[in-house]
Amino acid sequence: MSNEAVLQTSVEGAVAHGVHHEDEHHEHHHHDTFISKYVFSMDHKMIAKQFLITGMVWAVLGGLMSVLFRLQLGYPDSHFTFLEDILGKFWVQDGKITPQAYYALVTTHGTVLVFFVLTAGLSGTFANFLIPLQVGARDMASPFMNMLSYWFFFLASVIMLSSIFVETGPFSGGWTAYPPLSALRGASPGSGTGMDLWIIAMALFVVSSLLGGLNYIATILNMRTKGMSMTRLPLTIWALFFTAVLGVLSFPVLLSGFILLIFDRNFGTSFYLSDIFVQGSGANTGILPNEGGNAILFQHLFWFLGHPEVYIILLPAMGMVSEILSVNSRKPIFGYMAMVGSLFAIAILAFLVWAHHMFVTGLNPFLGSIFVLLTLLIAVPSAIKVFNWLTTLWRGNIRFTPAMMFAIGFVSLFISGGLTGIWLGNSALDIHLHDTYFVIAHFHIVMGVASMFGMFAGIYHWYPKMYGRYLNNTLGYMHFWITMIGAYLIFWPMHYEGLAGMPRRYYDYSIWESFKQFGGLNQFISTVALIVFATQILFLFNFFYSIWKGRKVTSKNPYNSNTLEWTTPINPGHGNWVGEIPEVHRWAYDYAKDGKEFVPQNVPIDPNESHHH
């Protein structure tokens, strides 16, 4: 079996012991030191936990940033002098977030949440954790590359974090890093050192994503256990597979864009720069000598990644939600092949819609109409998925676990946020709606909060497999209801603000006659945001407390689930299975079949069984 051989050659046989000493207890580790087990681990399960916890640190930091700039937006006239003592003069002056700090916060919040939390934290965690366990492999195709993937991410994290502490502040030109703000060192305080650190961190992040993605694809296609044909894969794996494909094909293009940007910043080229007058002091004043570039070029390269990126964020959540809905409805997923097909359709369309982010950049209107068509086509696979989720729930024997609540919450958010996507996909409506709070509301609900819900669902569902203990359910329900209601209260009103034309990224709306009416609404949003953020602390407490003190898992398969991860020991060692990897005889969704409540994938086909997959 290639599975065993790869692990042996890569880890020098230190871990495949389960195969050779079948009666040996799985917790027997040969020469695992603290460093090799917890730090430079090559065990996919430990790497998954490393991604998860690093992602959680970033989620807290990114969330805290949003609370800070919501303070400014909700209470533009108040003075929070205590913040000045905590954060210092760059961030807070006279009790108010400084304009420079405001833009730095918005930029870093976006970058961190999109890339570090919802890409690395979400697919990094669950691709690592679930792929080998659910396809029946002892580890990834290359455990070493997998370890490198995490450490590149860690390095990127350290550099991004350090940019917050430089004197001139972090980059503050928006998470999209459009030139010239990103290309000219003098364009804003954050465009100098802050941007240097931002771009280095992002380049390392791309390397991390590529190393991870290559591994995920190779593992899914090459390391499946006997009998695990592609059409028997759980939908989580299909979703993670398309996620990895999207990442591997789109991140390199972003890297191309960054390389040209680095040349513009440091070597005096003019890929993105032209016709710029610099107002400053000293020798840099006057017409910029860099001529002949095109700033729109960067937008094309950026959004060629940027749009697939939103599906990189969303697809893992979709996959996990499909699995969790089926398990907890005690019913097979409705329309398995349609689910796979719609994932495939979304993955293809993801590459063909990037210019809908650029409708108002002077794009040829004819070209725009083609992108409108392709964008609206995404509604078809999305609607198929929603239909199948709802029909999976329909007349199910539903168990409302916290994971299930978050999964259902995901479906709700995906519908709400998806419908506004149909508005924004129209180039004509976009003339009015672009760069308003309507866009903020749309993408936060459909991509940000929905994927966060997918991530929470995944954590609640697979926590027993990760740590051998349960999370506290009461805290889980509180966490769900406050976050669910809070998310709608925060983002729903933003639709109205956006329709009224309130632009995004402004520092203070109270000085505009047209937006003064929203003062009370903005206060309300900020207050809810603070409450929702505080609730996440509850979740953090639950998470870390339960690692050591949670109720212990006592059976291998606590959810009566069909997938292979529940055939491993309660606390699986490196190598996952003691003895042979189970052989797969059926798909993952044989729930309520032939009078049986559930039939795990490794149970052989009974000759009297009705039709099977």
Partner: protein, 190 residues
């Protein structure tokens, strides 16, 4: 161990598969860059100039290195280790020579009034530098990989005849060769 690549179910060695997906990834990077080149070329203020003649020599060098790489793999499979070591050395040397010739090409352009970077540079020339330079870095990456398997061939106490590692490097080497041929044709025609 050599049989690892072709188990009962006829699946490719996972590491080889990783390389193929990685090649797809590198193709996307250069596709991004050459698309940007086309987009920019169709706009105003584009400098027309001919490529330095030395790029023809570097093309011959890298094509020849693919041949030596191929022969090295054959020698390895035939267990002719001295011949294998010689051919790997030649291949790596040709790789370095290729990168050197590209740099000479850049210097030639700079010396003939086509500025690649800095004030007065035109994106047309800067693109040549970035795309060709990035490709040369990929060739040098291949040289490093060759050196690693080369050192292994000398130093490893256990005689390892695992062919998949050198096959992976070989495939990568042929890929960067084809990639350059594509780029060279692209620059000449577009």
């Amino acid at each position: 161990m050599a049989a690892v690549g072709s188990p009962e179910r006829g699946r490719m060695h996972p590491h080889k598969f990783i390389l193929w997906v990685g090649i797809g990834s590198i193709i996307m990077m250069f596709a991004g860059l050459t698309s940007a080149y086309i987009v920019r070329r169709n706009q105003a203020n584009w400098l027309e100039f001919s490529l330095p003649a030395v790029f023809w020599y570097s093309t011959v060098v890298i094509l020849f290195s693919s041949l030596t790489m191929h022969l090295a793999l054959k020698a390895f499979k035939a267990r002719e280790m001295p011949r294998y070591r010689l051919l790997v050395t030649i291949t790596a040397g040709l790789g370095v020579l290729f990168a050197g010739l590209q740099v000479i090409g850049f210097l030639y352009l700079g010396g003939h009034g086509v500025q690649l970077t800095g004030q007065g540079s035109n994106p047309a020339a800067s693109f040549i530098l970035v795309i060709t330079g990035l490709h040369a870095l990929h060739v040098l990456g291949g040289v490093v990989a060759l050196l690693v398997i080369f050192i292994r061939a000398y130093s490893s106490k256990v005689k390892s005849y695992n062919v998949s590692r050198i096959e992976i490097v070989g495939t990568y080497w042929h890929f960067v060769d084809i990639l350059w041929v594509y780029l060279f044709i692209f620059f000449n025609l577009i």
